[in-house]
């Protein structure tokens, strides 16, 4: 009698169950109608092969090489398969100055539920690739929705001669390659991926949302990437019928951060993308009480109350060597007394923000947000 094993989550593997049932049926049929033991053996081996195929994880194991992941139609020329669509978020996540390219695959006919503009729900089978380049390609990350509320994460590290990239183990690769003098890039492990991309069953794809794909792009966004005709945006997804339940107002008036000045818009957009992924009301970190993912309502309602969670709000974190001066999350007019700025510009691993994914300070962003605190909020 074949044993049926449980997978990691304690469920019976469907393929194994079916194959085992077939095996038992074959045994019974053959033993009743066929007396030639050789035939039994052949049938038994065939069904056993099915079982083994299921055990080897056909369709479940991650490809060892990036070339097998479906991103490319021709790996030698690095031609992207036509079903994988290139996109570029208007507010990029800081990754120590890496140049990044991103692609999405949506299964044919499948749609994204956009009823919550800030928390899109993706169809099972949706797949995202992100390529990181520091002078040359270093890694390509893949996130794939494998079942409702379930995502898989893999990273492929490019070899020296850039001919292929290979699957990195679940623990990632620390200090993988030098990206600046004395600073080495970490390839994240699966747990690191989950830190940013999992939150109470929500789909957390930071760079693919109504705001990030809005055609009303912010030209002052730090490290803004050039949008070109090879990329898709919100209008493309609407035209292709890939979004359901998108609020009507966003079809006529693309979402944008409602800043009082262009500088405020860019500062809040940067904070939205780089801090709001964790610091928002829907995240498990909501108990910290910082709402940096501003609500995307056309009338900007809710934005002020979200900002009140940081602007003029005392900080539990104290800036070292700040004397008796109190620390605020953001103190209008005073970036030097604002813990948000301090934590952006330190790479002390205990104090830095974001706490992972960066070892180099984003000085352009620090300058922008310091000016916003000093000039726009200080008036």
């Amino acid at each position: 009698m074949s044993k049926i094993r449980l997978n990691e989550s304690g469920n019976v593997k469907l393929s194994e169950l079916i194959a085992t049932t077939l095996l038992l049926m074959c045994r019974r049929l053959i033993s009743r109608y066929c007396h030639w033991r050789g035939t039994q053996a052949i049938f038994g081996m065939l069904v056993l092969a099915c079982v083994l195929r299921g055990e080897s994880g056909a369709g479940g194991a991650n490809p060892k090489s990036l070339s097998e992941t479906g991103l490319y139609s021709d790996f030698a020329t690095k031609s992207i398969a036509k079903e994988n669509l290139m996109y570029s978020p208007q507010y990029a996540l800081w990754s120590d100055g890496a140049a990044k390219k991103r692609w999405v695959y949506l299964p044919p006919g499948a749609t994204i539920d956009a009823s919550d503009a800030e928390n899109w729900v993706f169809p099972v089978g949706a797949k995202f690739w992100k390529e990181f380049t520091f002078g040359k390609r270093v890694e390509t990350r893949i996130i794939e929705k494998t079942a409702p509320e379930k995502w898989s994460y893999q990273t492929y590290a490019w070899n020296e001669d850039q001919t292929d990239a290979f699957l990195v183990g679940a623990n990632g690769s620390r200090n993988h390659c030098e990206i600046a003098e004395g600073i080495k890039h970490d390839i994240p492990g699966v747990n690191d991926c989950k830190v940013c991309h999992e939150g109470d069953g929500r789909d957390v794809i930071l760079g693919f949302s109504a705001l990030q794909l809005s055609p009303d792009r912010d030209s002052l966004a730090p490290h803004a990437e050039k949008f070109d005709s090879t990329m898709i945006d919100l209008n493309f997804l609407i035209a292709q019928g890939r979004l359901t339940n998108l609020a009507d107002e966003f079809k006529t008036k693309p979402p944008r951060i409602q800043g009082k000045t262009p500088r405020e818009r860019a500062a809040l957009g940067y904070i939205w993308a780089n801090c709001g992924g964790c610091h928002n009301a829907d995240d498990p970190l909501a108990s910290v009480g910082m709402e940096l993912k501003l609500p995307l309502r056309p009338d900007s309602s809710g934005q002020d109350s979200a900002l009140a969670s940081v602007v003029g709000h005392p900080s539990k974190f104290k800036i070292p060597d700040n004397g008796e001066d109190p620390t605020y999350r953001i103190l209008p007019g005073y970036p030097e007394h604002s813990s948000l700025i301090y934590r952006m510009q330190t790479r002390n691993p205990i104090r830095q923000m974001p706490p992972l994914g960066t070892k180099i300070v984003d000085q352009e962003a620090v300058d922008l947000i310091s000016e916003w605190i000093r000039e726009d909020l200080g008036k």
């Binding site: 690191d192 830190v195 498990p284």
Partner: protein, 193 residues
């Protein structure tokens, strides 16, 4: 029994049944919760959480955990001098309380695991606790936990086991005790503007 009295028999019986049903259900829930807390206590004891999170004191028979400070972390009044340099064969140093640790990672202080909202885990959700053990990061999202916290072993605990540990920690006496921030090894600080 008079006719009028009989009229009330069935409604009263029905009411009694309802009360009995809900009270046993409530008792059942309470008992399930107590069983979870008991399981959590057993796990916290067997996994040695108190070895670092309950300060030790010198008793009649040598060092022993100070049960009056159960799982409340490094005592806030105990201000530690700088740790000895992390070098040589004695690479790691510990305070007499086993709540402050110096090593190549800097200096770490055992966290207050009681449910005090300001200084302990009072603001943590069950999910925050589980994710901390799974990822080795504060609340599952923040900075890395520092040695000697053995989260790489604890990450293999099941959700049910971690939920039980959390339930137990939420049930023990609340102790207000603010532990110091950890100290990183000579990392550059941002320039003052």
């Amino acid at each position: 029994m008079g006719r009028a009295s009989r009229k009330f028999v069935f409604p009263v019986l029905g009411l009694l049944c309802l009360v009995l049903f809900y009270s046993t259900r409530a008792t059942g829930e309470g008992s399930a919760n107590q069983s979870r807390i008991d399981h959590g206590r057993q796990l916290v004891l067997t996994h040695g959480c108190g070895d670092c999170h309950t300060p030790w004191k010198l008793g009649a028979n040598g060092p022993e955990p100070d049960s009056s400070r159960l799982l409340s972390g490094h005592p806030q009044e105990l201000v530690m001098p700088p740790a000895p340099p992390a070098q040589g064969p004695w690479l790691v140093n510990a305070s007499a309380t086993f709540t402050a640790w110096g090593g190549p990672w800097g200096v770490s202080f055992s966290k207050n695991l009681t449910s005090d909202k300001e200084t302990g885990l009072g603001n943590w959700t069950e999910e925050n606790f589980i994710q901390t053990m799974r990822t080795g990061r504060e609340m599952g999202k923040g900075r890395m936990l520092l040695p000697p916290m053995p989260w790489p072993s604890y990450q293999h605990l099941t959700d049910e086991e971690l939920k039980s540990m959390y339930a137990y920690l939420m049930s023990i006496p609340v102790i207000k005790n603010k532990i110091p921030d950890p100290v990183a090894p000579s990392a550059p600080e941002p320039a003052k503007k």
